[in-house]
Symmetry: C3
Subunit: 347 residues, 3 copies
C-alpha cells in the first residue's frame, strides 16, 4: 500500500501484519492509547473515532475471541465491523476462476476504513502462504490491512500480552524472564501467537527461554530475529528440551501447544497426525509443581486454553493467571490500532 | 452469576432463563416498559440505552424471528448485536478438546453487556441439557444471560404473548380461559413456547385447558407448577384428550404442535419419527368450526405457523388472530429486558 | 405492497425490483442524490437518515460487493443491515412445511425499515421464479422490497453504471453508443446486470449494439422493451454475432459473460454444462486490439471481472476502465435508494 499522506508522526493508513513492521515508538504509542481506552472505555473522546465507518473482517478461519473483540472494537469506536467469510467470495485461485486480490482489495478500499484478515494453517498448503496473502492485500489496498492472526504472526495478541504484563509486572519489562513452554494438546495450534510473543517480548528487553520437545522447532527466521533482539538488549536467549528446568526463576510462563514443522507435507496440512503425535508428550504440562520453581511467575496464554493438556486447572484458574485480563486487552489494543490507523482524528 | 450490585428495586445484572425466576412485580415492570417502548419506538429516551454496547447472540439453532428481533432490539437501543454460531467456537465437549464454559463466559463478560443463548432439542441428547447449559453460563458470566429459546423455556415469547393479550383483552387477565391446543404438523416443535405460556398465563390468573392426543404430555414439573399457580389464583386447570371440547368458552386459543416425550431415545433426538407420528392426527387442527365454540376467542401462536396442519388459513389470517402483533411484541419486550438488565440507566 | 401514504412526489415506501418500475424523473432524482452523497459522504445531512433503523438483507445467494455495499450503506445512514441467509429460515416450499411469504413479509415489516432480496439462477428451477418471489414479497410487505440482484434484474447495478457514465462522459448520454459484448468465461453468469443495463442505458438515449455468439439470446421481453426505448429515443438497436465489428465507434464497452437460455432444463440450472460450452469461444474476449476500433471507449463491468476470459488485464486495468468507480457507486446509489424509499425525512 503506497499512501502519500503517510508521515512519521502518524500511523494513519498503516498496515499491521506483525509488530516487527512497526517502530518501538509506534508500539508504545499504541499500548498507551489502549491503556487509556481501557480506563475510559465509553468516553466520548473515543466513541466517535470511526463513526459511521465500516471495518471488514475477513475470516478464512472461524474465530471466537478475535471476531467478538474486533466487532466490539468497531462498535465502541462508533463504527461497524462486517463479518465476511470467503465462502461468500469468488476469489481467483490456481484452480478456479474468480476475482484477483488486486480487484478485491481496490474495491474494498472504496467501501471500508480498514480490512482485517485471518488465515491459519489449515487453509493454506504451505507455511508462509497466509503471510504472502496479507502482503498482497496490503500492496493493492488503499486502506490499512490488519492481521487478525495468520500463519506467521498475530500482532494484536502480542500487544494484548504486553498490556497484561505491564499491568501485572510494571512498565519496565527489561530483564524479566519469559519461559515459552510447549504444552501437549489436542488442537495442533498455530505458530502465530507464540512467534509474535517471542519477537515482541524480546524486543522489549525480556530474556527468553523456549522449552519444547525435539522436533517442535518454530520458524528459524523468527528465532533468528528474536536472538538478535535479545543480544541487542543484553539478554539471554536459549532453547531447551527439558520439561522442568526452564521454570527456574521465570517471571512469566506462557504454556501453549504448537504444531511441528512437519505438519505440512504433500501439499496439505495434516492436523490429525499432529494431534496424535502431540498427545503422547504427557509430561509437557504446566502444573503447580513446576510453577513453584518460578519467581512467583505469572501464567499467560492467548486462549482458548486446552485445560488438562497445556496446563492444569489449578494454574489456569489460579491467582497468578492473567488470561482473562489478556483476553480483555485484545479489545483495547484493537481499538487503539483501529483508531490510530483508520480514524481521521489521528491523521 | 453473583453480582454484588443487585438490589431488589433493579433488574440490572439479572439473568432471564424463565419468567418463573422473576417476581410478578419484575414481570409487570418489564411489560409496562415494553408497552411504552412500542408507543415511543424511536424516542431519544430509549435510543441511547445501550449506546456503543454489544450484545452477543449465541445461536446453536438458527432462527428467523428471534434473530431479527434481538438484533433490531440492540440497534434500536443504540447498541449492536453480534450473531454468533457455535460452529465458529471451539467449546469443550465430552468427546472433543476445547474451551470450558467457565472460560468462554468469563471472557465474553469482558466484551459484552449481555449474552443471549438459543439451544433447542435437536442440538442436545436429552431434555434439560439446554437448560443446564444456560444455568452453567449464568454461573460464570458477569453479565446477564438471556434465553433466546431453549429446550425448556422461552421467556421472551411468553412476555410477548401477554403483551398481545393485554392489548386485545385488557390488563386484567384474571379468569380468562386459555385453551392450549396441540395441532398436528410436520415440524416436531419444541416444548419451550407452550411451557412458558402455561407458567406465565396461569401465574397471571388465567384458567387453563390443555388439549392433546394421548402420549403428548409436557414436562411434569411444568405441569405441576402450572397447577399450583391455578390453585393459588382460584382457577381451573385441566388436561383433556378431546379435539373439540376445550374450545368451549375459551377466550384465547393457542394452537401449536409439539413433540412427544418419546422424541429422545438412544441418546438422540428423533425428529423424523416425531413428524411421521404427528401427521397422523389430522383431526387435531384449529379451524373456524371449532373456533365458533369459543367466547369470540383470540387466536395466538408464536410463529412460524404451520398453516393447514396446526391451524387453517381462515383462522390464522382471520380477524381474531393476533399473531403479527405478538410477533412484533418480541421486539418490544426484548428491548425492555435488555434495557432493564443491561443498561446503566436502569441500574 | 399497497401504501396509502404514497404520493407522486415521494419515493417513500416504494419497491425497487427493476428501474423499469420507476419513472425517469424518479431515476434522475436518485442519481442526483447519490452524486451528492458521494461528494458529502459522511456529512451530518445524511448520517442520521436511517438512525436506529434496521434493513434486512436476505441472501439466497452469497455475495461480495452487494453485501459489503448494502451493509456499508445502512451504516453510513446511521442504521444497521442484518445479514440473513435462508438456511436460517423455515420457508414453506412445495416439498416442505414452513412459513408462507405472507407471514414472513408481514412480520419482517414490523421490525425493519426495508428488505433487500438476492436470488440468482442456481437457487431457482426456472427463469422468472426469482422475480415472482420478489413480487410476492412486495405484495405482502408494508416496507420497501429492494432487489439486491435477482434472475431478471439488478437495478442497483444499472444505476451505479449510469452514475459512472455520467462522471466520465457527462450528463447527456443521448446518442452515445454502448457495445454490450458477451465474453467467454468460467462463471456462467446471470442475465440480471446486462438486462438492467440494456433497459436503463436505452431509456437514457444511448444506441445499443449487443454482440454474442449464436445461442446466447437474452430474455425476449427485455430485448423487446429495449428496442422500444431505442425507437422512442431515435437510436439504433442491433444484435450481431461478430467478435469485432461492434467495437466500431463505441463510446462504452460492457464485456461480460452470460449463460445461455438452455441453462435451465429438466427443472434444474446446469452450471457446469454452461461453463464447458462457454469456455470454447476463446475469440470472445475484450482486448486492446479490439478497443482500438472504439471512439476512445470506456470499459465498464459490474465485477467480479473474470480476467483473461471476459477481458484482458490490459483493458481491465487500463486508463479507460471505470470498473472501480462503478463498484464504488453501488454504495452511493444504494444509500440514495434506501434514503428515498425508507427514510421519514424524504416522506
Amino acid at each position: 500500500m503506497m499512501k502519500e499522506y503517510e508521515h512519521k508522526d502518524s500511523l494513519y493508513g498503516r498496515d499491521l501484519i506483525t509488530t516487527e513492521d512497526w517502530s518501538l515508538d509506534e508500539i508504545m504509542r499504541t499500548l498507551e492509547l489502549a491503556e487509556d481506552m481501557q480506563k475510559n472505555r465509553f468516553s466520548p473522546k473515543y466513541t466517535e473515532l470511526l463513526k459511521d465507518r465500516s471495518f471488514f473482517m475477513f475470516f478464512h478461519n472461524p474465530s471466537v475471541r478475535t471476531r467478538q473483540s474486533f466487532e466490539c472494537a468497531a462498535t465502541e469506536l462508533g463504527g461497524h465491523a462486517q463479518y465476511l467469510e470467503p465462502g461468500g467470495m469468488r476469489l481467483k485461485t490456481k484452480k478456479t476462476a474468480g476475482e484477483t486480490i488486486e480487484d478485491t482489495a481496490k474495491v474494498m478500499s472504496r467501501y471500508a476504513a480498514g480490512i482485517g484478515i485471518r488465515i491459519l494453517e489449515d487453509k493454506i498448503a504451505s507455511y508462509g502462504e497466509g503471510d504472502n496473502m496479507l502482503r498482497e492485500y496490503a500492496k493493492w489496498a488503499d486502506v490499512p490491512i490488519i492481521s487478525m492472526a495468520h500463519d506467521k504472526y498475530h500482532p494484536c495478541q502480542g500487544l494484548a500480552d504486553i498490556m497484561g504484563l505491564r499491568k501485572h509486572i510494571g512498565e519496565n519489562l527489561k530483564g524479566k524472564k519469559l519461559l515459552l513452554y510447549w504444552g501437549h494438546g489436542a488442537l495442533a495450534r498455530s505458530w502465530c501467537s507464540v512467534q509474535e510473543a517471542l519477537l515482541l517480548y524480546s524486543r522489549l528487553g525480556m530474556s527468553i527461554t523456549v522449552a519444547h520437545p525435539e522436533g517442535y522447532d518454530l520458524d528459524p527466521e523468527v528465532i533468528k530475529t528474536t536472538k538478535l533482539h535479545c543480544k541487542e538488549q543484553g539478554q539471554k536467549f536459549e532453547i531447551i528440551h527439558d520439561t522442568v528446568k526452564g521454570f527456574e526463576d521465570a517471571n512469566v510462563v506462557y504454556a501453549r501447544n504448537w504444531m511441528s514443522p512437519n505438519a505440512y507435507h504433500d501439499g496439505e496440512f495434516h492436523k490429525e497426525e499432529e494431534i496424535v503425535k502431540a498427545l503422547k508428550y504427557t509430561d509437557w504440562i504446566c502444573d503447580e509443581d513446576k510453577m513453584k520453581h518460578t519467581d512467583d511467575g505469572l501464567f499467560i496464554h492467548p486462549m482458548p486454553v486446552d485445560r488438562g493438556h497445556e496446563v492444569t486447572d489449578e494454574v489456569a484458574s489460579g491467582k497468578r493467571s492473567i488470561i482473562y485480563d489478556v483476553a480483555e486487552n485484545r479489545l483495547h489494543v484493537q481499538k487503539a490500532i483501529m483508531a490510530l490507523t483508520m480514524s481521521e482524528k489521528y491523521r
